[in-house]
């Protein structure tokens, strides 16, 4: 029923993303888009760190890369990552949005248009409000919205902002996010 998962996060989200990725089997049928705030100048290390325990391959896509199921796509440093028509990733060097490039909002908004009701959007721990508008778009387009329980976040700003903007479907602890996503298998 769902055709893609998109996850947004910033400070405090790294370990959560690792937990999620490590629980997914190699045969996982959906692409997972990771729009995570990251250090601009660190080009190697991040995707490697995510890959170590991940059940599915994690890549930083090139522009126009075709989207394949069972792969995690990490937004490259200093680019916005869009989901484009024709089942491709589109990268952009437009100005930062909310001081962020990659912007979680931009990824979520384009994913919402591309996948509509077949999208699961997840917002994790973070120290700013990026992603609140994006998750709202996911909801508007009929997708499923999950927010990490702010009480369980290392920094609750991002998840609280998301909850203020949208009536989400689930507020989950990390274990619940993991088991939910695994069930989509």
């Amino acid at each position: 029923m769902y055709r893609a998962i998109i996850i947004g996060g910033s400070a405090g989200s790294f370990q959560v993303v690792i937990k999620i990725l490590s629980s997914l089997p190699r045969s996982y049928p959906l692409p997972v888009f990771l729009s995570l705030h990251r250090l601009k100048h660190v080009r190697s290390g991040f995707v490697e760190a995510l890959s170590i325990k991940s059940g599915i391959p994690v890549v930083e896509p090139f522009d126009k890369e075709l989207i394949k199921p069972g792969r995690a796509y990490l937004a490259p440093a200093n680019y916005h990552m869009y989901l484009d028509l024709g089942n491709r990733i589109a990268l952009s060097t437009e100005p930062p949005v909310n001081h962020s490039r990659p912007s979680i909002d931009l990824s979520f908004i384009t994913a919402a248009h591309a996948y509509r009701s077949k999208l699961v959007g997840v917002i994790l721990s973070g120290a700013n409000r990026d992603g609140a508008l994006g998750l709202k778009k996911v909801k508007e387009q009929g997708g499923l919205c999950i927010v990490q329980d702010p009480a369980a976040c290392e920094v609750s700003t991002m998840t609280e902002a998301a909850l203020q903007a949208t009536a989400v479907d689930h507020i989950f602890k990390v274990e619940e996010i993991v088991s939910f996503l695994m069930k989509l298998n």
Binding site: H41, R43, E60, P61, F62, D63, K64, P76, N78, Y79, Y82, D84, L85, A90, L91, S92, T93, E94, P95, P96, V97, N98, D105, T110, R129, D130, L133
Partner: protein, 274 residues
Amino acid sequence: MTEAIEIGIVDTRNILKLLLEQYQYDFSDFSLISLKRRIEQSIQLHSMRYADALLSRLNDDKSFFDQFLHELQVETTEMFRDPSLWRVLRDEYLQQLEKPAGNAKIWLPNCVSGDELYTLCIVLHEYGLSEKVQVIAGYQSDYSLKHIQSGFTRSNILEISGENYKRYQGKNNFPDYFIGETPSQRKNPGFFEKVQFIRHGLNLEDAPRGVDLILFRNKMIYYNPPLAEKICGTLWDSLNPSGYLVVGIKELVPQGGSKPLKLVNEHESIYQKK
């Protein structure tokens, strides 16, 4: 992020149709999703609310079209973006441009803000190559040219660029490259005096020949694959044998055509004409 303007795909196509019919500018092979965003930004910038207002203005006001053309393009939003690329260019490639007879040529096909152009001028200046290299800067609208030559630079870009310059390990104090006081600081126009500015169409018509190095970074991301391939062919024609093409870190030059460009530095996305 406050509620931004959003238009539909139909609105986007209508605007592109007008640009083609009225101005003979064919954007059909450009990334639609990127154009849509640029159009939305432009509508917001001019305090319009809907695509209709933009359509009317484009229809009625020919001089506005030139500015709109500028706004459709994405500016490089920092100087010395990807500092390691500039270090590698300086340390490994510039010496190849020191030709005993005549000037080497470096072409930047699509300058919008002048930030990357200025970066190159600084690099050449610090290396002592400003007199020995002809820099050719392409632009696509007169508004862009004016913007570039005004040297206008936003304060936040100055700060980010200064940090990049430190990582590049430049020789000087970065703020010294700018004149005037915040918030009106500008690039030093002296650096652009020897630059040759030429106007291109969307398909880089009037491309120069005999070029040794082309900097075309994060431009192909705004093209659809067929146009990217065609433009790479144009760039290939422009290069000297064994000349270099530098694209964005996360861009790929299409392979397998009749005009081969071989990846010679994977980390910095540097290709060579074969």
